[in-house]
């Protein structure tokens, strides 16, 4: 037995040694690996700020890893460093959205938080309530040529408390619908374009064509992008069209048990379980690869269509009993109150979101400045979008668009809502109004 073991383990040791050997070679080769903007994050931990003696280094966390938009931010950062000698560099650390909270709280804990950050609108109240953000209004108003009045007030709502402004939205994008023209053509049925032309662009009629598409071709009719039955905000185009929201305006009272909410959920539930035109929980369907008739996604995600092998169009999401409305997601740039260089960070924010730079950013992210809210700016150099596609969406953003509902304790409320919907709603043969009572029972205790 000894011999047996020693032989077996000798093999295992060989595994380990080979591993160590490979470690050496890949270490030496690692310099050739291309590094993203976050590549120097480890180095910056070792040398916190301004180690070269000439001014501080500002850090800003972002959740994109798109090289083009990171390059754009880098060049704006460089321009700022040139005009402000107190700052030696502006670094953009990219991470994923689900890491954001942990990164910021860890940063605060270790006394080294990022100076600025992107923050999704869902987190606005939570951060404001905890005094985690700096009021930007005074500084922005004082900045020459900033044109504070140009910021559309309705779109700053979630970041405004009295006169104070805690974040400047840089991206306010509607959830829009993209559809696969080829599939509708192949099935020989009405497409969303046809329904719009008929003036019959409602969720009910969309449900009907999705069912037809599924029945004729066996493909999925409709898949919500980034939903996976875990992200309730992706249901908002339907919810808003039915005049539903999971809670009231000041987020104190659950309204997921309202008849409007039930009707909206019923529609999607029917598409999944009755028509089978939308994917089951856990089922993976890829619209961008051509497997589904339509999707709803942020305008920014439409870049996914650049490799599309099918003809497509982009339209506003359908209307419902509550009329024609669009669900707007939003992200702002904020200065963290725990940061060490708040004044310089605020100054950079004013620079980053001034008129000229806002226009540069508008090529990537839908803006909230009145002067920039045009189809022309939004389309920019995009090869995917056209002004015809985007004009109705811009109009909707300006007039009928509604920003995502926000709760104070967002992380917990959203988690409870997602989990409760998942448990009670997303299965076959559910009495929706009944099940929604349970949803409210789960969520209500967390609303303040």
């Amino acid at each position: 037995m000894r011999n047996l073991r020693s032989r077996m383990l000798a093999g295992a040791v060989a595994v380990a040694m080979l591993g160590a050997l490979a470690a050496c070679s890949s270490e030496s080769g690692s310099d050739e690996t291309p590094t993203s903007a976050s590549g120097d994050a480890s180095a910056s931990t070792a040398a916190p700020s301004g180690s070269n003696g000439s001014g501080v280094e500002l850090h800003m966390t972002v959740w994109t890893s798109d090289p083009d938009s990171l390059a754009m931010f880098d060049s704006i950062g460089k321009a700022f460093v040139e005009q402000q000698p107190a700052v030696s560099a502006v670094k953009f650390d990219s991470l994923t959205l689900d890491q954001l909270d942990t990164v910021i709280t860890t940063g605060i804990q270790s006394g080294n938080p990022p100076d600025l950050s992107w923050l999704p609108v869902e987190k606005s109240l939570e951060y404001i309530h905890n005094d985690a953000l700096v009021d930007l209004a005074p500084a922005l108003k004082e900045t020459n040529g900033y044109d504070f009045e140009d910021l559309v007030p309705r779109l700053q709502e979630r970041w405004t408390v009295g006169d104070a402004l805690y974040g400047v939205p840089f991206s306010t994008g509607a959830l829009v619908m993209a559809f696969n023209k080829d599939l509708y053509e192949k099935a020989g049925i009405k497409s969303p374009d046809d329904l719009i032309a008929e003036g019959n662009w409602t969720w009910d009629s969309f449900r009907e064509i999705s069912k037809q598409l599924h029945d004729k071709l066996g493909v999925t009719g409709y898949v919500m992008n980034d939903f996976d039955y875990k992200n309730w905000t992706r249901l908002l185009p339907i919810l808003f069209a039915y005049g539903a929201s999971p809670w009231n305006d000041d987020a104190t009272q659950c309204s997921a048990d309202s008849p409007e909410f039930a009707k909206a959920i019923q529609l999607y539930h029917d598409m999944v379980y009755t028509d089978q035109s939308a994917p089951l929980p856990g089922q993976k369907v890829d619209f961008w690869g051509g497997q589904a008739g339509a999707t709803t996604a942020f305008l920014g995600s439409m870049n996914n269509l650049k490799d599309a092998t099918f003809k497509y169009d982009i339209v506003p999401t359908p209307a419902g009993p509550a009329g024609d409305t669009q669900a707007l997601g939003q992200a702002s740039i904020v200065v963290l109150a725990a940061g060490k260089n708040k004044d310089l960070a605020t100054e950079f924010l004013a620079f980053l979101t001034n008129k000229a730079n806002a226009e540069t950013m508008a090529k990537f992210y839908p803006p909230t400045r009145e002067s920039l809210l045009s189809a022309k700016v939004l389309v920019g150099r995009s090869t995917i979008l056209t002004e015809d596609m985007v004009q109705p969406i811009v109009d909707a953003t300006k007039e009928t668009g509604k920003i995502f509902p926000v709760a104070v304790d967002d992380a917990k409320v959203a988690d409870a809502l997602n989990r409760s919907l998942d448990t009670n709603i997303w299965k076959d043969g559910v009495d929706i109004p009944d099940a929604l009572t349970q949803v409210c029972a789960d969520v209500q205790p967390l609303l303040k």
């Binding site: 993976k284 989990r419 448990t423 009670n424």
Partner: protein, 320 residues
């Protein structure tokens, strides 16, 4: 390192009679130098372990007595409130039974499966080496890779639905909660680790002295009797080893839960270790998560105690 090498080193030690001092006994007296030497050998490992582990345990307990707001860095002493909350938390009525389910099922079934497979693989059959290698393959794959692959297999309209469909069955809601999901997790976890356990068992089985078995056979003992009364006692240390590995491993269901369902739907497929991660790192509720971590630690401590007692009763060989 091959057989002859090993034998060359090991043999003299066994053969050469040790030169023994007249006064020497099995356990020589512990003199001061011996203690100094012993402690200096133990120091790096033990001090490191106690420093890091002790700090962690004291800290996690202290945190569990607080309500922590990670964002505003406010920490309020709340006494045992977090523990009271565990009792009232409806989610925990699912999480705790699920955790117990995995610990019991995986440790018992995993050990039994390992013994059974090892016995099967210990047969003299043509091509047995192929099966011995095959069984070890999942052990070479990381848990994450294994969970990701299985996630594909059990996804709606995936491979498994394709297979059951070929037998005329409807697609099953593999990951939609309830016992079915727990069973899927158990299968994923068990298939991942069974190879290592079988190898340990196989090595133990092959070290069972053949003459003992032969003697029993001559005494007319049946196959089961031989297995029960000779083989099992002989391989009991290996059984303990595998059982311990399975118990610790059963808490590792964490990765499967996180990657395959995120504990959902609701918390139907959540376990304690996942709940800790979820509360601490996804919901930023450090205080509550810490109280769950303390419970986990206490549960494991109790388990350790029980297994330690079992060792004394059931393990045949313990040269201690």
């Amino acid at each position: 390192m091959n057989r002859t090498d090993h034998a060359a080193v090991a043999a003299p030690a066994r053969v050469r009679p040790p030169r023994v001092r007249p006064s020497s006994k099995n356990r020589p007296p512990r003199d001061a130098g011996r203690n100094v030497f012993g402690y200096s050998l133990l120091a790096p490992g033990v001090l490191g372990f106690v420093a890091v582990g002790g700090t962690a345990l004291v800290w996690v307990f202290w945190l569990s007595l607080h309500s922590v707001n990670a964002l505003s860095q406010k920490k309020t002493f709340v006494g045992l409130d977090n523990y009271v909350r565990i009792f009232h938390d409806p989610d925990m009525k699912t999480v705790f039974p699920n955790t117990a389910f995995f610990v019991v099922l995986l440790s018992v079934l995993g050990t039994v499966a390992a013994v059974a497979l090892a016995v099967l693989l210990n047969q003299k059959l043509a091509g047995i080496n192929f099966f011995r290698s095959a069984i070890f393959v999942p052990a070479l794959v990381t848990m994450v890779a294994w969970a990701l692959v299985w996630h594909f297999i059990v996804q709606p309209k995936g491979l498994l639905d394709g297979i059951t469909g070929a037998f005329g069955l409807d697609p099953m809601p593999w990951l939609r909660g309830g016992t079915l999901t727990l069973v899927v997790f158990a299968v994923v976890q068990m298939t991942k680790n069974v190879g290592v356990n079988v190898i340990i068992m196989l090595a133990a089985l092959q070290s069972v002295p053949e003459d003992l078995l032969e003697a029993a056979r001559l005494d007319g003992a049946g196959a089961w009797a031989r297995f029960r009364h000779i083989v099992v006692p002989q391989i009991s240390p290996a059984i303990l080893m595998v059982f311990m590995l399975m118990v610790t491993g059963s808490f590792k269901v964490f990765e499967i839960v996180l990657l395959m369902t995120g504990g959902g739907p609701g918390v139907q497929s959540s376990v304690l270790s996942f709940a800790i991660y979820h509360e601490a790192f996804e919901l930023n509720d450090i205080g509550y998560a810490s109280s769950l971590a303390v419970i986990l630690f206490l549960a494991v401590l109790a388990l350790t105690g029980i297994i330690w007692q079992l060792r004394k009763r059931f393990v045949y060989y313990e040269s201690d």
